[in-house]
């Protein structure tokens, strides 16, 4: 039935992003590259939170795992063709490991356990400051930021790589949520006990969601480091666990395009607010309160066209 849906809208969005990359002035193109990379992070978060119903407060750990894995290896002279997959794998492996332990809990306990793991990761980054440079972080030399023949420090290739990564993430998440495994994720979110009594193991489904979510976070972290040239402990703080949650809620949890919309809107709200005030987080807070009051299902989730939040 309609669950199979069409590819028209996502493909149109990808084409629009490609055109924008060609016509936007450099400042906005760079912003959009940043948004697309962060939207990959948000899409991964959406798989765990929006589809499988896992409210994690530990995703900064998976993002920074990818960031540091790629950044440290790039600094050691590895080529981008190896550091990017290494970052993806680091995020996925760490998420699977955390999931094996944290998924024994649900609800508030799960939030606390994931938060603790992420804090432990943050403290570990500070503790091993000799390699990670702690809070100060380190910049990646231009020579370390290449992907095959592409110079990732240049505007054109940077935008192209961000777009390709986003496209892969978007199409993969579409494929997943429309697959039998994706339907089970939604079933676990909606009614875990019923799902168990249909013969599915909720733990396995949640572990899959969290591990895939970690792959996205790790990939986004690795790409962020390679494309923008900076690796630092800020990205492991709790702020970077809360941000993907906010982007997803803002755009519409459990919708495939919601993460992109939420990330882009939040990015520009902060960007525009910075022209007016230093207290950009205050503006974010007000925007979120307005969201909760007037569109609790997010910008896309509140569109009236769909009676059901089954699939995108």
């Amino acid at each position: 039935m309609s669950a199979r849906g069409s590819l028209a809208l996502p493909v149109a969005v990808l084409l629009l992003l490609a055109v924008l990359g060609a016509v936007l002035p450099a400042y906005h193109a760079t912003n959009l590259a940043r948004i697309m990379v962060l939207a990959v992070f948000a899409m991964g978060y959406n798989l765990a939170f929006g589809y499988a119903g896992l409210l994690s407060l530990g995703h900064a750990l998976f993002f920074s795992a990818g960031l540091y894995a790629a950044g440290l290896l790039a600094q050691a002279g590895w080529p981008g063709i190896a550091t990017l997959p290494a970052g993806i794998a680091a995020g996925g492996a760490l998420a699977a490991l955390v999931g094996l332990l944290a998924l024994r809990t649900t609800g508030v306990a799960f939030m606390i356990v994931t938060l603790m793991f992420a804090q432990a990761g943050y403290l570990a980054i500070l503790y091993f400051g000799a390699w990670t440079r702690g809070d100060e972080g380190f910049t990646l030399a231009r020579a370390a930021r290449s992907l095959g023949p592409l110079d990732l420090a240049a505007d054109g290739p940077r935008y192209a790589v961000a777009l390709i990564l986003f496209a892969i993430g978007l199409l993969a998440s579409l494929a997943l949520v429309r697959s039998p495994a994706g339907r089970v994720l939604v079933a676990v979110r909606e009614n875990p006990e019923r799902t168990r009594m249909l013969g599915y193991d909720p733990f396995r489904a949640r572990l899959l969601a969290l591990a895939v979510s970690g792959l996205y976070a790790g990939g986004a972290g690795a790409a962020y480091g390679l494309l923008f040239g900076y690796v630092g402990a800020t990205f492991a703080t709790v702020q970077y666990s809360v941000l993907p949650l906010l982007w997803v809620i803002l755009g519409g949890a459990g919708t495939v395009l919601g993460p992109l919309v939420g990330t882009a809107v939040m990015f520009y709200v902060v960007d525009l607010a910075a022209w007016v005030t230093d207290a950009t987080l205050l503006v974010v807070g007000v925007a979120l309160m307005a969201l909760v009051l007037f569109a609790p299902r997010g910008l896309l989730g509140s569109l009236p066209a769909r009676a059901l939040r089954w699939l995108p």
Partner: protein, 237 residues
């Protein structure tokens, strides 16, 4: 069609909650193809007993064999895959998903080749095929109970456990439901927890009476009716 033989065999099942012995040493045999009713006053341990059988609870003591295999320590989802389906006493569906998707999730578990056809077939057996596109939460209560039975049927179980399926149904719905259970019994064994004595006496091949976590009697409806202990304890005649 009664090939005979034992489908499920429980021995010495026990489960306590704190100091309360909800099930205190129950033996139960389900013959292949029978409709077996489980009756008893409130708090007799009926729901606890079937929760032990389907794996939602693990027993403190005792063994359960299904199709000759020991399933005592198996988790519920593995028992479902082995052929034990359970419909909840308090209706448990996916209210925000479409009726179709509710049943399709069960069909998907069986690995059926034609998911849509098998889903509509299960819906047709309970008469809900016209409601396939509606959100399940908008169905009337009686229809939600039928949807849950359709989910159980779609699993193509060898044992279908129905926990108070007629609770809250109208007289007309109960009559239709009895016909449905007879149909189901042609292809599966049915274990029925039921308070409505007319339904029990009409449908059951055998009846087990529980009281205070123990088996009071087991037998055909006629034997149970004639049993003085049951009359004293439960039927009140």
């Amino acid at each position: 069609m009664r090939p005979g033989g034992t489908l499920l065999e429980a021995r010495g099942l026990a489960r306590a909650f704190g100091g309360l012995k909800a099930v205190a040493g129950v033996d139960l045999d389900l013959a292949r193809g029978e409709v077996h009713a489980l009756i008893g006053p409130n708090g007799a341990g009926k729901t606890t007993l079937v929760s032990l059988l389907c794996g939602r609870l693990l027993p403190d003591a005792g063994t359960i064999r299904f199709e000759g295999r020991d399933v005592t320590r198996q988790p519920a989802e593995a028992r479902v895959r082995a052929g034990i389906a359970y419909t909840f006493q308090v209706t448990s569906i996916y209210p925000r998903l479409r009726v179709f998707d509710n049943v399709a999730l069960a069909v998907q578990r069986t690995g059926a080749a034609h998911r849509d056809a098998a889903t509509f077939a299960a819906l047709a057996r309970v008469g809900l095929e016209d409601r396939a596109a509606e959100p399940a939460g908008t169905l009337a209560y009686g229809h939600q109970r039928l949807l849950e039975v359709a989910m159980g049927l779609a699993l193509r179980p060898r044992l279908l456990i129905l926990d108070e399926p007629t609770q809250g149904l109208s007289e007309g719905e109960i009559a239709a439901f009895k016909g449905l259970v007879r149909e189901i019994a042609a292809t599966a064994t049915v274990l029925l927890i039921e308070h409505n004595m007319d339904v029990v006496m009409d449908l059951a091949d055998r009846i087990t009476v529980l009281e205070l976590g123990r088996t009071l009697a087991t037998g055909t409806p006629a034997e149970i009716r004639a049993n003085p202990a049951v009359q004293a304890a439960y039927l009140g005649a």
